[in-house]
Structures are given as C-alpha cells and as structure tokens.
C-alpha cells in the first residue's frame, strides 16, 4: 500500500515537474544568434559611423602601447604545454604576440590596438579541451587569430559559423579551401598539404629527374593523409608508379618507425613524400640511409626542426632531404621577414614555427583592415569581407585570394629548402616560390581527404 502510494506520489511529482515544459515555445528556428552588437555605435550600414560588436572596446587594451586607441580582442587556441605539437605551437604563438605588438607599435589599425594575450588558451591538442576553451573565449573576441588542429577546429566549427567568428587555422588541410567545409569563415594560409605534395614532386622532377616511382609516408587524416592524396594525384597525372601509402603514427604512440623503414626499403621508390613529425623524419631517413636506400625525401612543412642537424641522422638528412614551406625561410629577403627579425631584435627563435606564426598574422590583419575600411568590425562585419579578400604576406609568400574558385585561387608556390648547418635555423632556400604544372591538371573541387 505504502509502496503504491509512494510511487503514486512520485508520479505526481514528476508530472508537476514536467508541467512547465508544456509552456515551452521555440524562440528561433536554429542556433542562437551571436550576441547583438552594442547599439551605441551601430549606425546605418554604409554610413561613416563604425559598427562594433563583441571583442571590440573603446577602452584601451590591457598594458596598451597606444593608450588612446580602442582594442580589438582576438582569440588563440593552441597547444601550449603538453600536447604533441607544443614544440611548434609555442613559437607560433609567441610570433603572433610579436606580430600584433609590432602592428600596435606602428600605431595599430585605424585607432585600434590588437590584443591576443587576454584570450590565448591552451588546448593541449585535445578536442574537448579545445571546445571548452573555445566556449570560454568565444563571447569575448572579434575573431580567432589561431586555431590549432583540424579535428579540434571542426569540433567547434558549427558554433564559429553561427557566431561568424573568422579564424586562421594552424592546419594546412585542403578542406579549409572549400566553403562546404568551413562556411567560408576559416582563412587558410598558404597552400594545402595536398597541393604541397603535388608541387613539391614537380620541383623534384625538374631538379632530380622525373621519378619512376613515388611513395607517401604520413600520419593518417588531415595531415599525412592529405599529403598522400597529393602524391597519388601527382603519380596519376605524371604516369609514375605509386607505391603503397605507408600510414604511421608519432613515436609516442608507435614506439619507433621500423615498420615504415622496412616497407619503404622493400618498395624502394625514387622519392618519398613525408607527412610526419621531425623526430620521425630523422629516424626514417637515418635508418633508410644506413640500410643503403638511395631514394630522396620531400618533407612537408612540419617535418623540420633545426635540432635535427644535431641528431645522428644529420648527414643523411643533409644529403637526401628537402623541406617544403608555403612561406619564405629565415634566409628570406622580403619585408615580412625583415619585420619579423626586427620584432625579434636579433634573437633567434627556437624553430621555424616562429615564421609560421608570423606569416599567419597577415591574413587576419588584412581581414581586420578591410572590415575597418567597411566601418564594421563586428564578427559579422569581419566575416563578410573574407569572400574576395586578397591578403598580402609582405613578400613572405604570394598574395592569397579567399573565396571564389578554390582551384583557380589555390596557392601553388612552394619554398624548397635544403638543410645546411651553416645557415641560421639550418634551412637554406634553394627554390623561391616554385610553381609546377601538375596541380592545374588535377581536380581540386573538394577536400583531398574528406571530412566526415
């Protein structure tokens, strides 16, 4: 009896608790719109008055260089402590800080200083951490100056699109060239890994003779997978034999690269395109060279670290490896490189990550300048200028055009480097902004490796 009464009471309580739900009405059709910009500044569109939104204040930035300027806050989501890319991501983030400091020192942008420190967060390269940190800063920023990792970025991409938060990714996955994947708000910088492999192999064919066989080694997915797809496309167009793709994993996971070494030795290709980390690059090249392998290696952007020249494989790397980069190396002669060196005031960064961090500042700067020119630096205003925007890298790379036909606008120029211990940061440029012929013969109408 009591039991029955109790369950009856429980049922009644539940019914009462659920009662408010009947009064539930949907407020809007989809995602919550971004917090509306403060009305104070919003004028008619096209009017001279500046429209501002979240992440833009009339008050100066903390520790402002120009105390009379307003402040535009940008976010950074990067791997700054214990994640697998911290060695690269820390100098990248340092460079971004220096980049915007220099911009501020030169007077800022149209009466605004830029602050990235306040909304820089460590994601540890873990998707849930990335999402948590993104949620923390997404309401306080005008745009995202850096978002590291494809999966991490995609985890919050829908929300970024809903909030119109323009972002520069530190990932060179081909998918970010296509609006179908990123809603047109992710401003990829330079080429994609897929393009890199295609153009890099063109360079190889020009300088080392056309290879009869090619092979890709890489981490599966957005990085090595994208690169491997480029190798495949190059082989198809140029009639080279495509040896089986060798997927691998970082040494923290795989232990060592012996399996890769034996597979590449067995396949014996003329050239191997690497889409892996620096330590793995050194191990594979060193072991293969010791085993009498005579082919050469083309390494993607993240395969290089100057410390490799101190490794036992230094001799083999210097002899057999070339590095590919979408930006000029440390020995570049552009205004961008000169500005970067000025900001560093004679110091050497730990590795080339610093150059990457510096270069990816330019697309964001171009977007902010254009938005200020249009008198709208709300997130929506910044997002609206991306399509058709042309970003100048001050000579560090060819100008980049966003939106439009991805195939026609794709950056195809590769800076090929040769390891050289005599040169600062150990990488000597041997081909400036090389552009091949194969890419235009491939179909670049969707991401090379699909987002699922």
């Amino acid at each position: 009896m009591t039991l029955r009464r109790r369950s009856r009471t429980a049922l009644a309580a539940l019914a009462i608790a659920l009662l408010p739900l009947t009064a539930c009405t949907q407020v809007d059709g989809g995602d919550d719109p971004a917090p509306s910009p403060p009305p104070s500044d919003s004028g008619d569109s096209g009017a001279t008055e500046l429209v501002t939104g979240q992440g833009v204040t009339e008050e100066a930035c903390p520790d402002a260089i120009n105390p009379d300027n307003g402040c535009i806050y940008l976010g950074v989501l990067s791997d700054l402590t214990e994640g697998p890319f911290a060695a690269l991501a820390v100098p990248i983030t340092d460079a971004q800080g220096d980049f915007w400091r220099l911009v501020n020192e030169r007077g800022g942008l149209n009466g605004y200083d830029i602050d990235i420190d306040k909304n820089t967060r460590d994601t540890k390269y873990i998707a849930d951490e990335h999402a948590a940190q993104y949620n923390q800063i997404s309401g306080n920023i005008a745009a995202i100056a850096q978002t590291l990792g494809t999966v991490n970025t995609e985890s919050v991409l829908d929300d970024m699109i809903a909030k119109s938060l323009v972002a520069v990714p530190t990932t060179w996955w081909s998918g970010f060239a296509f609006d179908a994947n990123d809603g047109g708000i992710v401003m990829e910088s330079g080429y994609s890994y897929c393009t890199e492999a295609i153009v890099g192999l063109d360079w190889f064919a020009d300088n080392h003779g056309k290879p009869a066989s090619v092979q890709a080694v890489g981490y599966p997915g957005d990085y090595g997978g994208d690169s491997a797809e480029g190798v495949k496309r190059w082989a198809e167009v140029n009639g080279a034999e495509l040896k089986e793709y060798v997927p691998t994993a970082p040494n923290q996971v795989a232990g060592n690269q012996d399996a890769v070494v034996s597979k590449v030795a067995a396949a014996n290709p003329d050239v191997v395109v690497l889409g892996i980390g620096p330590a793995e690059t050194a191990e594979i090249i060193g072991k293969l060279a010791a085993g009498g392998f005579t082919g050469r290696f083309m390494g993607a952007l993240p395969t290089w670290n100057p410390a490799l020249l101190d490794s036992p494989a230094a001799g083999a790397i210097t002899g057999l490896y070339n590095h590919m980069s979408p930006y000029q190396n440390w020995d570049g002669d552009s205004k961008g490189i000169a500005d970067m060196k000025e900001a560093l005031a004679g110091e050497l960064p730990t590795n080339g990550g610093y150059i990457i961090g510096w270069a990816i500042g330019y697309p964001m700067k171009a977007a902010l300048e254009k938005a200020l020119e249009n008198n709208d630096i709300s997130p929506e205003g910044i997002a609206s200028v991306v399509d058709g925007l042309v970003a100048s890298y001050e000579g560090m790379a060819p100008d980049q055009k966003y939106g439009g036909d991805p195939q026609a606008n794709a950056i195809q120029s590769v800076y090929v480097g040769q390891p050289n211990a005599e040169v600062e940061l150990g990488m000597e440029t041997i081909a400036q902004a090389y552009v091949g012929t194969t890419f235009d013969q491939t179909d670049y109408s969707a991401a090379c490796v699909a987002s699922n």
Binding site: Q26, D128, G221
Partner: protein
C-alpha cells in the same frame, strides 16, 4: 517467529515507555522521539534507506535545486564545464562501481566511453562521405549507447574475472590498446585517425535541442537544455548506482573486493558478480561517452586513450573510493579546478601567456594541478568524501572532539 519474539518484548513496555513501541508502525518513529537522535533507526529498512538521515535529505534537495538552477546563474562557458563535470561524474560513478565497490581495477574505461560515443554517433549522427549515420532520435540512441558497451563489457568480463590486481590492470590496458587500434581502422564507424567524425544530433523525442526555447520569461539556450538533460540522466544513473550499491548486488561487490575467496566461500558467485560489475560499469561509461561526444561536437579515434582512463581513475580516487557522492565531488574537482587555477594565475604578475620567461601561465597551471593532486592523495587518502566525513563528524560531535 522472530517477529513474535520482538512483539512480545515490546509488549513488555509499560508506563511512559509505551510510546517507544514502534513495531506496529513498521519502524516509523514519532517526531518527538526522533528529534535530536538523527541516528535512531528502529528497523533495518530505515537504516538502509536511500536518504537515511534528515541532513542527507536536505543536502540532497539543496544539491538538486542548486544544480538544476546553476546554468541560469553562471555564464555559458561555465555551463559547458558543469555539463562536462556531470558527464565525468556519470563515467566516474561507473568506474567507481567497478573499481571502488567491486575492487576490480580497470584502465580500460576510456575504451567503453569510446564505444558509447561511437554507438551514439553511428545511430544518431548524420552519414558522412565515408561514415555511417542513421540519424535516430536520442530516445533510442542514448539507451543503445548504454546497451552496446554493456554487452561488450559483459562479453569481455569472463576474461577479466580470471585475474585480479595488477594483472587485471594490465589486461584492461590491453583492452584499451586493442580498442584504440580498432577505432583507428574502423573508418566507417569512426572516420579514421586524424579526421574523426561528427556526433549524434541533438534531437530528443522529436524536439530539436539546438533551438532556443522559452518557458514564460525563462530563456533556455541549447547549452542549457543539453545541461538539463545531462543532469536528468546523471540524477537517474546516480540514484540507480546508489541503489545497486546498497542492494544484495552491492554487498556482494564489497565482499568480492574485500576478499574474493572468502566471498566465494560465503556463496557469492564470483563470476556473476564480477561480470555484472563490468557490464554495468561499461554501460555507465557508454552513456558518459555518448554525452561527452555530443558535448564536444567532434570525436577522433585517438582521444579514447590511457590519459582519459587515468582522468576517470583520478575522479574516483580524488572523490573517494566506493562512494557515489564522493565521485560527484571528484568530477567537479577534476573538471573545475583548472578553471579556478586559471582565474588565480591572472593575479601572478611575472608570468604571462608567452614563453618568454621560464614558463608560461599554462605550464604553471598544469604543474600546480599536478602538485595539488599529489598533496591531496597524501594528506587525505579517502578523498574529498573523507574530508566531508571529517567536517560532518566535527559538527555531529560538537562541542566535543569525539
């Protein structure tokens, strides 16, 4: 017969003491008698009741009300963290049933979280270019996310029941590594390494949870509705776990944990007990994994790794082994402490976000978090729940020391 005896005994009460005869009231004690005697139990049932003291009832009510109202009181990004804490609590409760109550150490918890996440993603997600997705309602997806990992847990349990202690830890570690590899190669399910896949859609009973709703003047944003649903699931699973723990099954868990041979001699079926512990723990992990994946928005095969298992072990150990409420405290600690450290480190002047100095602010946070855990485990091995017990005992005995 026993009943008759007690009946006779209480019938002997005479004079003013007749009001102490509670037998006919099935253990219910008059209010004037129980006042000031919080631990006066007059029947086994009330002693073992779900909330057996008045303070527990009030604390629970306060916790429920506060937790339900929390998302309306804090900023949205805190809502994310609170949701994460609830999800960690669900997964932690599952692990505590297995490792805390039944004493079966497991490093494979992340594998079952992954299984739940992928079950939810496959049944509730959109199909991709290479991935499967059936776009079912969460009302079907969430139970499946418990059932499928539960079944897998049930299937692997016989292996695990043959070993114990360190050997079991290594065996479950093997399971984790095997699982991670399977996740990496099962591309139609997981999207493959490096790319990952999208997650289950937030549609429950046909209601789109991505929309903003209003109940009168109260605006319920998508983040809040997901939080509330997570809270509801957490509450149901928390109560269920508490009930399991104080039932015959829970007592057999404890018997097996304390000495499995002795338990077997007493007639506890070892195989059945351990298997059930594994299955139920996996089911909890599955639900937590499904919710976690939906909270994050995208999942990749490499995230269900040893570090995640260790995170959940930390929740259990920091919260307190073999307590449900301790697990909730542990989850809140593990998820929220880094955020509080972040707020604190803003006030340390010489450390910034750049790596110019000795360390950057994020490295400092990681170091402090590690040190805090070490201090914690050293000073209070019974975890947060142990601290709570000490506080409670202090006030119970007040003004005396003991």
């Amino acid at each position: 017969m026993n009943l008759n005896k007690t009946q006779t005994r209480s019938d002997r009460l005479t004079g003013r003491s007749t009001h102490l005869n509670f037998e006919s009231s099935k253990g219910k004690v008059a209010r004037n008698v129980s006042r000031g005697r919080g631990k006066l139990y007059t029947s086994y049932a009330t002693n073992q009741a779900f909330l057996n003291t008045a303070p527990k009832k009030w604390w629970t009510l306060g916790f429920v009300v506060l937790t339900a109202l929390a998302p309306f009181l804090v900023p949205l990004d805190f809502t994310y963290l609170l949701t994460l804490a609830l999800i960690y609590a669900i997964g932690g409760i599952g692990l505590n049933l297995l490792s805390g109550y039944a004493g079966q150490i497991s490093l494979g918890h992340a594998f079952f979280l992954g299984l739940g996440a992928y079950t939810a993603a496959v049944f509730g997600g959109k199909p991709g270019t290479v991935t499967w997705g059936f776009e079912l309602d969460l009302a079907i997806v969430l139970p499946l996310a418990a059932i499928i990992p539960g079944i897998i847990g049930y299937l692997v349990a016989p292996l695990a029941t043959r070993v114990r202690g360190l050997y079991l830890a290594v065996l479950t570690l093997g399971l984790l590594i095997f699982g991670e590899h399977m996740f990496k190669i099962m591309v139609p399910v997981t999207g493959g390494e490096g790319m990952g896949r999208g997650v289950a859609q937030r549609t429950l009973f046909g209601v789109d949870l991505n929309a903003t709703y209003a109940i009168g003047p109260v605006i319920i944003k998508p983040e809040i509705s997901f939080y509330l649903i997570t809270f509801l699931i957490f509450a149901v699973l928390g109560v269920a776990a508490r009930n399991i723990a104080r039932s015959r099954v829970g007592r057999s868990f404890a018997a097996v944990r304390d000495r499995d041979l002795a338990a077997e001699v007493m007639g506890v079926n070892l195989m059945r007990t351990k298997t059930f512990a594994f299955a139920i723990s996996s089911a909890y992990a599955g639900v937590a994994g499904a919710l976690l994946s939906m909270l994050i928005g995208r999942i990749s095969p490499e995230q269900w790794n040893l570090f995640m298992s260790v995170d959940f072990l930390a929740v259990v150990v920091i919260g307190g082994i073999a307590t449900i409420s301790g697990t909730i405290l542990g989850a809140a600690f593990v998820v929220l402490l880094p955020r509080f450290l972040e707020l604190l480190t803003e006030y340390i002047p010489f450390i910034s976000v750049s790596s110019g100095g000795l360390i950057n602010v994020f490295q400092l946070q990681t170091i402090v978090f590690g040190i805090l855990i070490v201090i914690f485990i050293t000073l209070e091995p019974r975890g947060l729940y142990g601290i709570w017990i000490r506080i409670r005992n202090y006030f119970t005995a007040w003004p005396f020391s003991y």
